[in-house]
Each structure stands twice: as structure tokens, then as C-alpha cells.
Amino acid sequence: MKLLSYILLISFGLILVYAANELPTRGDPNAPINRDSSLAGTPGATAHYIRNAEKDMKTPNVVTTILADYRGYDTLGETTVIFCAGIVVFLILRKQKDGSKV
């Protein structure tokens, strides 16, 4: 049974290596992730963000603008996730009122 698990793990790695061969070369400026427009002709998100960041909000750091403004709703949810994690840790580890074991 253990041998089977090892074989599954190694074959999973081999499949991932095979898939990685089909990926574009690392750092290629013409890779789909760096293109100006997608294959369907819609404008690419990244190019839009970089072009308009300085003009829209006078903030040179593009990562900050995307994090807090363009995708601000995303960051709001993410902050809520962190808050929920804090609450959950508090609820797991709080002292029980009846003195029972946690």
C-alpha cells in the first residue's frame, strides 16, 4: 500500500514536469500573460493597469494601486479572512466556562 502511494506521488510529479514543458519560456515578453490584448481581442488587464496607474491616482507603485484600488474589493474580503482567522483562534482556545477540557 505504501509502495503504491509512492508510485502515485512520483507519477504526479512526472505529470507536472510534462505539463511544465508546454509552458512558455520563463521571462518571455510575448507570453500570453504579458500580452497587450488577449486572443479574443479584449484588452489585457496588466497593460491597462500599468498605463493608467500614474494618471489615475498619482501612485507610482503599481502593486499598491492594484491591491487597494483596482481590486479593492478583493483586499476587503481578504482582510475579513484574516479577521475571521483571529476570531477562530480565539474561539478554539478560549477558557471554557464550565471548566471542562477543551
Binding site: 521571462g27 507603485n61 502593486v63 499598491t64
Partner: protein, 81 residues
Amino acid sequence: MIWQVELIIYLLLIASAVFALRVKDLLSSIVILSVYSFGSAFLFAILGAVDVGFTEAVVGAGLTGIMFLAALYYTTRKSID
């Protein structure tokens, strides 16, 4: 983006990941995990993701290690495997 430097850091990352899982003492395992986090932060920085590298250096190498230590203080630091 000098690929030789990256190669060396990748080897360091793999070695630290393997040793973090192999060491019997959990305390040293956590310290090696911090080494792993710091190496990956360095890799992020030379790949151009300065923000991500900054965050990983603060969070991965600092706060995660402290939290693991606090948990180990109330549990055991011995491990069988």
C-alpha cells in the same frame, strides 16, 4: 534574472525543504523552515517581485517561526519520524 544565481538558490531551497522534513527535532525543523522562507524571499526579490519578497521575509521568516515556537512550547518537540 541571472539563472546561475537562481539555480544555486533553488538547490538551497530543495535542500532546506528536505532537511526540514527529515530532522527529528521539531525545533531545528522550524529553524530550517525559516531558512527556506528567507531563501524564497531572496528569490522573489531577484525575480522582481519586491513587494512579495518583503512580505515573505517579514511573515514567513519571522511571524510563522514565532507562532510555531509558541505552539511547540505547549506541545512536545520530539518527533518519531
